[in-house]
Structure formats: structure tokens, C-alpha cells
């Protein structure tokens, strides 16, 4: 088992005088095997992103555990150990603009990955960067040397995915990676994640509010609501025989191309 998440919970405390507890994630448990593609689906505020941030070691869990290849990332403190974790578990986020520093050329975000890799020769680095861009369907001469604002959202997100081709992480956590991207290029980007899985056995946790997207790429879909996983199954099980009332609502609310909603 690559990743084991057990009873993971996060409670935020808000307010100064009248303290209020917000249970963002409640006792979430799941496992991911090598090469498995799972989707975490739910509406805004359901706790999907909080869960992903706890796995990425950005947000400390209130209770419960994350075990990746037998190790608890929160017990890692030495820089070599942390570098190992960052190389193995990689995050891709919703807003591909926010991931870039607007003052630097896009090359920087790719070359930064070499801090986690043992590659000395500059020629080798340049070669790898160019190869990784080709893998994600970009022409190196069109994007290298340019600034983030000169590229489209789709191109920026592809560059973020090119980092995965350089690092070859074992687990990618993609949090709404295509919701800010044009409908016309979504399929192409979604396919890149499937390619990584098929070619390198990378496991993927795909986080989305759109059951339609999850349906095409996942081995398993987990439905999250109010901080808990309320249902899980294969895409066909979830789409054809949803059991939880929330899953049914989610399914009904996806706009379809060939069917019109009742009452619309």
C-alpha cells in the first residue's frame, strides 16, 4: 500500500472570545495502491482541499494519521527526509497562475525541481527540462524564457505537470487542476494525468467538484460531504447506482450535453 490515511481529522477554531469549532474533516480513512487513480468529489467546503493539504504536509492534522510508504510525513524533520517526501508526493493546484512567481521566467519553476534531484550537468538539466515540456504537449521554444503572464492558463498548468515528469513522484495530489481551464483544453490536461499513471505507475488523487470529470479518469471515486466520505465505489457504481442521497444530488446537478434537466 502506497498511502494509508486513517481517521484523519481537522478542526479549526475560529473567534477570539466566543470560540467556535469547525470540523472541516472528520475521521477520513482510505488507502491508495501504487498506480491507482482515485477521485475525491464534493462541493465547496466539503473538506476535500483540507484533506489534500494534510497529506501534502502543508496543514497539520488535528488527529488521525497519514502513512506514506510506512512513514508518517509529520514525523519527518531532517531536511533529507523532507526532500524525499517532497520528491515522492507532489501537489498540483487549481490556480496555475498562483503557483508561479510573476517576476521570474517560467524556466525557474522547472529548474527548481533539480534541488530535489541529483543532477549536476547543466546540459543534462536543459535536456530534461525540454523533454518534460514535450511530454506535456508544449514546444520548449515557445514557453522557455517567457513570463507567466505571457502564457495561457492551459499552458501554465501544463508546465506545472511537466514538473511531475521531471520529479517522477509516486503520488500526485491534483486539487481542481482543470476547473480554471477552458473547456476546450480540459480533456488534454486530464489525459496527462492518466498518461503519468499509465507510463510511470504514478498514483493520483484527483480532487474535483465535477463528478463528470472524475467519471472518466478514476479507478475509484470517493464522495465527500461535510468533512466525511459518504460513499465510495467504481465510477460505474457511483454513476449508475448511487446510494447516498448526496451522491444522487451531485449526479443530478452535473449539466449534461445530451439531456436537459427536469424543470429547465
Amino acid at each position: 500500500m502506497l498511502l494509508k490515511v486513517k481517521d484523519l481529522s481537522k478542526t479549526f477554531i475560529v473567534g477570539l472570545l466566543r470560540k467556535k469549532e469547525i470540523h472541516a474533516v472528520r475521521k477520513v480513512s482510505f488507502n491508495i495502491k501504487k498506480g491507482e487513480f482515485i477521485s475525491l468529489v464534493g462541493e465547496s467546503g466539503s473538506g476535500k482541499t483540507t484533506t489534500s493539504r494534510m497529506i501534502l504536509r502543508i496543514l497539520k492534522p488535528s488527529s488521525g494519521s497519514v502513512i506514506f510508504e510506512g512513514k508518517d510525513p509529520w514525523a519527518l524533520h531532517k531536511i533529507e527526509d523532507l526532500k524525499w517526501y517532497w520528491k515522492q508526493v507532489h501537489g498540483i493546484f487549481q490556480d496555475p497562475f498562483a503557483s508561479f512567481n510573476p517576476l521570474y521566467k517560467v524556466d525557474r519553476i522547472l529548474y527548481q525541481t533539480f534541488n530535489l534531484l541529483n543532477i549536476e550537468s547543466d546540459a543534462e538539466k536543459e535536456h530534461l527540462v525540454k523533454e518534460s515540456l514535450k511530454e506535456v504537449g508544449l514546444r520548449p521554444e515557445e514557453v522557455l524564457g517567457r513570463y507567466p503572464h505571457e502564457l495561457s492558463g492551459g499552458q501554465r498548468q501544463r508546465i506545472m505537470i511537466a514538473r511531475c515528469y521531471l520529479l517522477k513522484p509516486k503520488l500526485i495530489i491534483a486539487d481542481e487542476p482543470i476547473s480554471m481551464i477552458d473547456a476546450s483544453t480540459r480533456a488534454g490536461i486530464l489525459k496527462l494525468f492518466s498518461d503519468l499513471r499509465n507510463n510511470y505507475g504514478t498514483s493520483v488523487i484527483f480532487i474535483t467538484h465535477d463528478l463528470g470529470l472524475a467519471y472518466y479518469v478514476s479507478d475509484r471515486i470517493m464522495i465527500m460531504h461535510n468533512g466525511s466520505i459518504v460513499e465510495e465505489g467504481t465510477p460505474d457504481e457511483i454513476m449508475e447506482h448511487p446510494k447516498h442521497h448526496y451522491t444522487m444530488r451531485l449526479k443530478e446537478d452535473v449539466p449534461l450535453l445530451y439531456r436537459k434537466w427536469k424543470g429547465f
Binding site: 465547496s44 477552458d182 473547456a183 467538484h209 463528470g212 444530488r249 446537478d253
Partner: protein, 324 residues
């Protein structure tokens, strides 16, 4: 023949920038009939939002209206003074909910105070009347009345969007333009916003809607007519059914094929996206602007700009593959 609420004739609006002239809307003609929902679809950067700002005459440098005429409900607004447009047209005859509308509310004002300011600009009524008007409208549209007394940060994204739409239509404009109103929302919230738009029409608060989005599956749910825009030009238009079931322009077909929804029809054909990126509008490609990405491009496509021709009953296409 139904009457026209809005007529745009050969409109050109360009941004004059240091790098060059961006031809964001280049020779676009568009009619909106009374009583319809018109869906406008296209990729980011194709000029959709610029076209909407132009239709409203919300034109500020570096954007300039270079050519063309815009007539809203019989008034030639392309010739009007900005002051007059602000007072007599915006919010009264035609309202725009821009893409960033979630941030349109004043963070330091309660919703009701914001409404008071907006309404007073256009009509001379007392505070009490405005409050009762807003309450009545929120009740009619099934929005929680309590939200009128809250600050924007206390509302959820979906509620904010619905409040902004309700406020924009408070003075019963004939035409409402909504620009990507649901793109930042999750599916369940999106459905609620779409329902609100339909209610506005059902209760005759507004007559017509122009709905701008890159998501064709959303348009499928609410639009009557579809207009497809690419690189500053309209490439195809027609009834929703006609365009979806029988797209004539290769770009339209590409957009439809790029839709990802959980349906057997789509599962069968697999996921396909349009290759390449939309062009830079400072130096758009010669001839048909879609030719570098088009799978059916012919030698003529590079040289000659295809005209938008009527092929039958208001169905228009601009492509060299299609003969009138």
C-alpha cells in the same frame, strides 16, 4: 418575426496598447430577440467579454469602439454620451453582471445599503421604498431576505452571485448580460444560479438574457440560441438544437467534442480537446483565423477571410467548407 431588443451592426472594438492593436472584437454583428436566452461560447481570450462590454458601451481606454452601431431597445447607444448611458441605459434597459461580479459588492456595506446607493443613482425614490422593493424582490426570487442585512463576506459564493444578479435586475431591465456567472461555482450552486436566471425570465422581470460561458453543457440547459465566437469573430450561430446536433464550423464541432460530461454518447467517442492555443489578437492568422488549428484547413483558408453567411433560417456559418 419577433422584435429585436439589441442590434449590433459590424462592431469593431480594439485595444490600443504599446505592443500593438488588439482586435478583440472584429466586425461582429449580433441580434438579440425579445424573449430568448442567447448563449455565447468561446475560449478565454476570444473577445467574449470585450464584446459584452462593447454591447453595453462600457468602453474606456485602452478599449475603443472603432466602428459599428449598437441599438438597444430602439436607442442608438453607440452615439450617446456616457453620462446619459449611465443614467438611462445601464440597469434600466440593459444590465451586465461581469465575470468578477462576486467582488462587485462593497465589502464595507451591508447588501441593503449597497442597493440603496445603486437604485438612487438611477431613480428618485425614498429609502423606505427601496427597502420594500428589495425585500419584495428577494422574496419573489426565493432568496433569503435576511441576507439583505448581511455584509458580503458573510455570504457564500453562490449566494453572493445570486444577490448580485438580483440587484442588477432590480429596475427590471429588458436585457440581462451575464458573463461566466457560474464558472467559479460548484455544480450544485451553479444549478441554483441557473434556476434564478430562468425565474427572472418566468416572472417577466427581464425579457432576454445573453449568457456568456466556455461551458456548452451549461448552455444546453438554458439557452435557446447559440453563438460561437473565435478570435474576435463570430464563426457560427443558430438555434441550440441545430448547432449542437449538426455543427457546421470545425471549431464548433471541436468545442462540442471537448465537453466532458458523464454520458454514454461521450464515453463512446472518448475525450478529445482542440489542439493548440487561441491566437494572439495583435497579429491574428491571415484568412480564417482558425486555420492553424483546423483539421480540415485548405489552401484558401490561409488567404481569404470567410464571410459569415446565412445558410438557412438564421443559421449562420463562416467557413470555406460550407456553401450557402
Amino acid at each position: 418575426m419577433s422584435t429585436l431588443l439589441l442590434e449590433a451592426e459590424r462592431v469593431k472594438s480594439y485595444y490600443h496598447t504599446r505592443e500593438g492593436t488588439v482586435k478583440a472584437v472584429d466586425d461582429v454583428s449580433l441580434d438579440v430577440e425579445n424573449g430568448i436566452i442567447l448563449g455565447l461560447a468561446g475560449e478565454s481570450g476570444c473577445g467574449k467579454s470585450t464584446l459584452m462590454n462593447t454591447l453595453m458601451m462600457k468602453i474606456r481606454p485602452p478599449l475603443y469602439l472603432v466602428d459599428g452601431e449598437i441599438i438597444v431597445d430602439g436607442e442608438r447607444i453607440s452615439k450617446m454620451e456616457r453620462k446619459e448611458i449611465k443614467k438611462k441605459i445601464w440597469g434600466v434597459k440593459i444590465s451586465l453582471v461581469p465575470q468578477s461580479a462576486l467582488n462587485a459588492l462593497m465589502p464595507t456595506k451591508r447588501i441593503i445599503d449597497f442597493i440603496r446607493d445603486v437604485v438612487k443613482f438611477h431613480v428618485d425614490v425614498s429609502d423606505g421604498e427601496i427597502v420594500s422593493m428589495a425585500r419584495k424582490r428577494f422574496e419573489e426570487l426565493n432568496l433569503p431576505e435576511d441576507s439583505l442585512y448581511l455584509y458580503p463576506h458573510e455570504l457564500s459564493g453562490g449566494m453572493k452571485q445570486r444577490a448580485v444578479i438580483a440587484i442588477s435586475t432590480l429596475l427590471n431591465p429588458k436585457l440581462l448580460i451575464v458573463d461566466e456567472p457560474t464558472s467559479a461555482l460548484d455544480v450544485s450552486t451553479q444549478k441554483r444560479v441557473l434556476k434564478l436566471l430562468l425565474d427572472l425570465k418566468k416572472f417577466k422581470i427581464i425579457d432576454s438574457i445573453v449568457f456568456v460561458t466556455h461551458d456548452i453543457a451549461v448552455l444546453r440547459q438554458i439557452a435557446d440560441r447559440l453563438v460561437i465566437m473565435y478570435a474576435g469573430k463570430i464563426v457560427e450561430s443558430g438555434t441550440l438544437e441545430d448547432v449542437l446536433s449538426n455543427p457546421k464550423h470545425p471549431y464548433t464541432a471541436g468545442l462540442i467534442h471537448a465537453v466532458i460530461t458523464p454520458e454514454p454518447e461521450i464515453r463512446k467517442r472518448g475525450l478529445v480537446s482542440i489542439p493548440g492555443e487561441p491566437p494572439n489578437l495583435i497579429n491574428p492568422p491571415s484568412g480564417c483565423r482558425f486555420h492553424p488549428r483546423c483539421l480540415h484547413a485548405m489552401p484558401i483558408c490561409k488567404k481569404v477571410v470567410p464571410e459569415l453567411v446565412d445558410i438557412s433560417n438564421g443559421r449562420k456559418v463562416s467557413c470555406h467548407l460550407v456553401k450557402a
